[in-house]
Symmetry: C2
Subunit: 124 residues, 2 copies
């Protein structure tokens, strides 16, 4: 029997897929945390990592395509800047669930429902 095509070739360019996928990597989250402090050029962003420059370059592209960062090329330097909007999209996606887990927590007697957290940004 002629084995059937397993996956439709033009698969999901779903923006939330791309967004969450971009966030599903430690390196990329660290890059975002760094960029939250200030814009930076590629070399500076790459320095802390034990991986090649092209590897970081690729990660940056994934973040860029997810809309999480933008790039301004100035001569040979590419300056990357965090873009808030997509994270807001995450927040918006998350929002309908919020009441759910706040309920869950309060029903457990743990009254963190009025979110008193809000710490300093730390690379993870």
């Amino acid at each position: 029997m002629p084995r059937q095509a397993t996956v439709p070739p033009g698969a999901s360019p779903d923006p939330l897929d791309r967004l969450f996928h971009a966030l599903a990597d430690r390196t990329r989250r660290k890059l975002l945390a760094q960029l939250a402090l200030r814009p930076a050029k590629v070399t500076d962003l790459a320095r802390p990592f034990r991986m090649s420059l092209p590897a970081v370059s690729k990660h940056l592209r994934i973040l860029e395509e997810a809309g999480l960062i933008s790039r301004t090329v100035d001569g040979r330097v590419h300056r990357m800047t965090l873009t808030g909007e997509p994270l807001r999209q995450v927040e918006i996606w998350l929002d309908p669930f919020r009441s759910y887990w706040e309920e869950t927590l309060t029903s457990l007697g743990t009254d963190l429902a009025k979110h008193p957290r809000r710490g300093r940004l730390k690379a993870r």
Copy 2:
């Protein structure tokens, strides 16, 4: 020269990696949205999808391993339930960035900073 191992074999079991990765799939997000309404058994969850039962079963396992759902086996029926906590972890990760994009938005004159949204949960 002996080509070097490309990727460390015991790669990232980072919980946030697993969490965001679990969310980076439309099908899985739909499953979560469904489970936010009420717990459900596997067959019922699978019904709306145009994919095989084992495929859905795998998605559920990924959600389960990310901690997003839990399973109670009752006879041959597996009842899945949404677990709020990991979504709270997303929120916590997101939090340090919040001021950033709220700032960005207000500085653009778009005063949505006091988040007046909060819609009904809708499968996406």
